[in-house]
Each structure stands twice: as structure tokens, then as C-alpha cells.
């Protein structure tokens, strides 16, 4: 079980906003996270990964505390070792496709499997600048998977993929997530694209209701969760995504 209860101030043109999240995620679940631009989705993922420190709250994975300021616990990203697919891909310009994966793991067999899943076998010597947007995005996903994380955080991971590639990749990823028992949080504005991935059996899709103005708690599999947005939250500011 992953338990997250955090508060984090967001920088914005129109003064301070506060991201408040209080949620539980069963291990092995796949959850879609969505909401208006600038509401703190990326910040939320970064808080879990240890890349951003919340002002208050706690993060617990199974019985291990990742963030517990009262006890002085704040595990580094290296120790949390979550897989993270960045919205801007964050590929290393100096490394080829193969070097990206070799940087993350020494398991040659696993690397070959990943290359097959991402259909990048023929592009192993290419650097990111010579890859299309879709290929770059697939590489970002493969690199995050390379460390075989127990928790995978994906920020708009399929936005640059064509429908055919998206369907094929999502099918492969679904099998992989099940095989590795991965817990996955996916930020995506497009719920349609996740239909084959976020299944009713493992998926939790509570944020759509909770982000709405009439947000209310609801029970899901015995779990209760809520995400609070500030009272003055109206339309998102496009510029705010720069801070996410």
C-alpha cells in the first residue's frame, strides 16, 4: 500500500496555490491522474519521487517511510528509485538509445526485451536528436522501466505517439506491469488512450470526480481518497505548467 498525504505550495502568477493530496494506492494498481493544467499533477509525481519536497505530510510505501518530516525522514530519489517518465522526456543528448538503457541497467537480456517492446531495436546507435518525438517518448518510457521499479510515475507518457503505436505499446506495457507487479501513476488528460491500460480490476480512477468543483469523497475498494484544490481555483494558467 502506498499512502500519500502531502501539502505543497505551487508558484503561480496569481499568488500562491496549495496542492493537497491525501490518497492510498494499493500495490499493483494503475491509476490515472488528471486535472487542469497547473493544478500540480507533475509536482505531485515529483513529490513522490523525492525530486520535490512537500511542506507537510507523509509518504509511506508499504511499511517504509519515504517522507516523514516529524521523524526527519526524507529519502533521496536514489533510494526511492521510482521509475519516472518526464513530460519533456529528459533524454540525455550525449547518449545513444542503447547507452540510455545501459546507464540504467546492466541486464543485457532486459535491455533487449525493452528495445523490442519499444520497437527501437534498429535505432540503438541513434542519439535523441535523431529520433522522432514518438521514438523519444518511447525511449523515455523504456529508460524508466529499465530499473524495474516497483513504482512507476508517468507524466503524459503517450502524448507524442500515433494511435497505432500507442495501442501496441499500451498492450505491451499492461502485460509488463502485471508481470513485474508494478504500481503505476499516470498523468494523462486523455482517459480514452488509457482504456486498455487502466483496467477495472487494478485501476483506480478517482481524481476526475475529486478534481471537479463538486468534489466529494467516494469509496473505492474500501479505500478513501481526496485531492483538494484551493478555493480560488478556476481556470488554469498556461504559464503555470513551467513550474510543474
Amino acid at each position: 500500500m502506498i499512502s500519500i498525504a502531502i501539502e505543497k505550495s505551487l508558484k503561480a502568477y496569481a499568488g500562491q496555490r496549495t496542492l493537497k493530496v491525501d490518497r492510498h494506492f494499493p500495490m499493483g494498481s494503475i491509476t490515472q491522474i488528471y486535472g487542469p493544467s497547473g493544478c500540480g499533477k507533475t509536482t505531485f509525481l515529483k513529490c513522490i519521487a523525492g525530486l520535490v519536497t512537500p511542506e507537510r505530510g507523509s509518504i509511506r510505501v508499504n511499511e517504509e517511510h519515504w517522507f516523514e518530516p516529524l521523524s526527519g525522514i526524507n529519502l533521496s530519489p536514489q533510494k526511492r528509485k521510482v521509475g519516472f517518465v518526464f513530460q519533456d522526456y529528459a533524454l540525455f543528448p550525449n547518449m545513444t538509445v542503447l547507452q540510455h538503457l545501459e546507464y540504467a541497467t546492466n541486464d543485457r537480456e532486459w535491455i533487449n526485451q525493452l528495445l523490442h517492446i519499444g520497437k527501437l531495436e534498429t535505432l540503438t546507435t541513434h542519439k535523441p536528436e535523431y529520433l522522432s518525438g514518438g521514438q523519444q517518448q518511447r525511449l523515455a518510457i523504456l529508460r524508466a522501466l529499465a530499473i524495474k521499479p516497483k513504482l512507476l510515475l508517468m507524466d503524459e507518457p503517450f502524448s507524442a505517439l500515433d494511435p497505432e503505436m500507442k495501442t501496441a505499446l499500451i498492450g505491451e506495457l499492461k502485460l509488463l506491469f502485471e508481470e513485474l507487479g508494478m504500481t503505476v501513476l499516470i498523468v494523462s488528460h486523455n482517459g480514452e488512450e488509457l482504456v486498455g491500460l487502466v483496467d477495472g480490476e487494478m485501476g483506480i480512477d478517482v481524481l476526475s470526480e475529486e478534481y471537479s468543483e463538486t468534489a466529494s469523497k467516494r469509496k473505492l475498494g474500501g479505500l478513501e481518497g481526496k485531492v483538494n484544490l484551493p478555493d480560488d481555483f478556476n481556470e488554469p494558467l498556461e504559464d503555470m505548467k513551467d513550474y510543474m
Binding site: L51, P77, K81, A90, A104
Partner: protein, 224 residues
């Protein structure tokens, strides 16, 4: 026949200064590139001072600070036998301080321009800060690194005031090319002055044009 020892001495000084500044400048530039604080701003201002300070002023204070008759200079002389006034190591120290902004400035700017997500991605893969710096950040600022090294080397070649103040004009010890030019003109030996000047001009021109050509293929401003 013109005595070429000032040229060799200058190249040796520029090479050592560049190497030392590269080793010391990289971590400092990295530190300065991360976040902002009043303390960092003050340190950065101190590092940048040689850009605007008259070289003779810097040389004068170094001369006072490292005089073997008093203070730090006396202590270094007595305890370690180190003498920075009118010695080659004094020139290295002065050049190190004087050329610091040329090494640290371009590297710091380049590191700041890299997306923060690059280092973050590396951290999530379990890599530490040092490994991230060496394998991810550093290889992606190569053009700026080259620019910083060339600017530092070329700037050291052209030092005059600060070198004269702390080193004087001792043949084979502190008589670098720029001082040799001045000295030759003083002695009305225009041929030697021309030889030194032409060599310095040629070396500097070749270095700068190399950086411009290299950075042209990296689609970056040569002075970044």
C-alpha cells in the same frame, strides 16, 4: 636571434593555469549553477571582480598579501618554504585568480541552461550527484567547456599588469611574453618585440578560430 624562453614560459603558465582552473572551477561552477542565495551571489561577485578590476590593482594587493615580510606570505614562506612574490608559482597564483571568471562563467551559464529534468532523470535511475555530473551534465556542455578553457588559456597569454606587479621581469622565471614585448620596446629592440607579438597573435588567433569553428557545428554562440 630572439630569446624564445618568454614564449615557452608563457605557454607553461597558461597551460598550468588552465588545468588548475579546470579542476577547481568545475565544482565551483556547478555549485554556483544550483539555486540562489546571498552567499552565492557574493562569491560570484568576488569571482567576477577580476573582469572589471584594473590588473595592477589586483597585482598590488597580491604583492602585499604574499610579501614574505608579513602576514600570510611570511607564514607560507616560513612554514612551507613557499614564496609567491617574484616567482613562477606567484605568477600561477595571480593568473589563477585573474582568469577565474573566464573559466567559471561559461561553465556556470551552460549548466544553468541544461533542463533540470536531466539531472532529475539520472537521480531517479539511482545515480548519485557525482556520477550525474560526470556522465550526464558535463558531456552536454562540451562546447562551453572548450570555450572556457580556450578563453582562460588565451587570457593568461595576454596578462601583463598583474604579472608584472607580482612577478617582475626575471628572465626564465617571471619574464613572460607580454612583458618581453614591453621590455623589448623599452630597449628599442622592435624586431624582438615583433617576434613575440606575432607569435602571441598567431597562437591566440588559431585558438579563437578553432573554438568558433567547433561551436559553429554545435549551433551555439562561440562565446557562450
Amino acid at each position: 636571434m630572439t630569446d624564445l624562453s618568454p614564449i615557452w614560459l608563457t605557454l607553461k603558465l597558461a597551460g598550468i593555469t588552465t588545468l588548475l582552473l579546470l579542476i577547481a572551477g568545475l565544482p565551483v561552477a556547478w555549485w554556483l549553477s544550483k539555486g540562489r542565495s546571498v552567499f552565492k551571489t557574493i562569491i560570484e561577485a568576488v569571482i567576477t571582480m577580476p573582469l572589471v578590476l584594473p590588473p595592477s590593482v589586483l597585482g598590488f594587493y597580491l604583492l602585499l598579501a604574499f610579501s614574505p615580510q608579513r602576514g600570510v606570505g611570511k607564514w607560507l614562506n616560513d612554514v612551507f618554504g613557499l614564496r609567491f612574490v617574484f616567482s613562477f608559482q606567484g605568477l600561477v597564483l595571480a593568473s589563477f585568480i585573474y582568469s577565474m571568471p573566464f573559466m567559471i562563467g561559461p561553465i556556470k551559464s551552460a549548466l544553468q541552461q541544461l533542463p533540470a529534468s536531466l539531472a532529475q532523470a539520472s537521480y531517479t535511475l539511482g545515480k548519485g550527484k557525482r556520477e550525474t555530473f560526470l556522465k550526464v551534465l558535463l558531456p552536454n556542455i562540451k562546447p562551453s567547456l572548450l570555450t572556457a578553457m580556450v578563453l582562460t588559456f588565451a587570457h593568461t597569454l595576454g596578462e601583463f599588469g598583474v604579472v608584472l606587479m607580482i612577478g617582475g621581469n626575471i628572465p626564465n622565471v617571471t619574464r613572460v611574453a607580454s612583458i618581453a614585448v614591453y621590455d623589448s620596446v623599452e630597449r628599442m629592440d622592435y624586431a624582438s618585440a615583433n617576434t613575440y607579438s606575432l607569435i602571441l597573435f598567431s597562437i591566440t588567433f588559431v585558438m579563437v578560430i578553432t573554438v568558433f569553428l567547433y561551436n559553429k557545428y554545435q549551433a551555439k554562440s562561440p562565446l557562450e
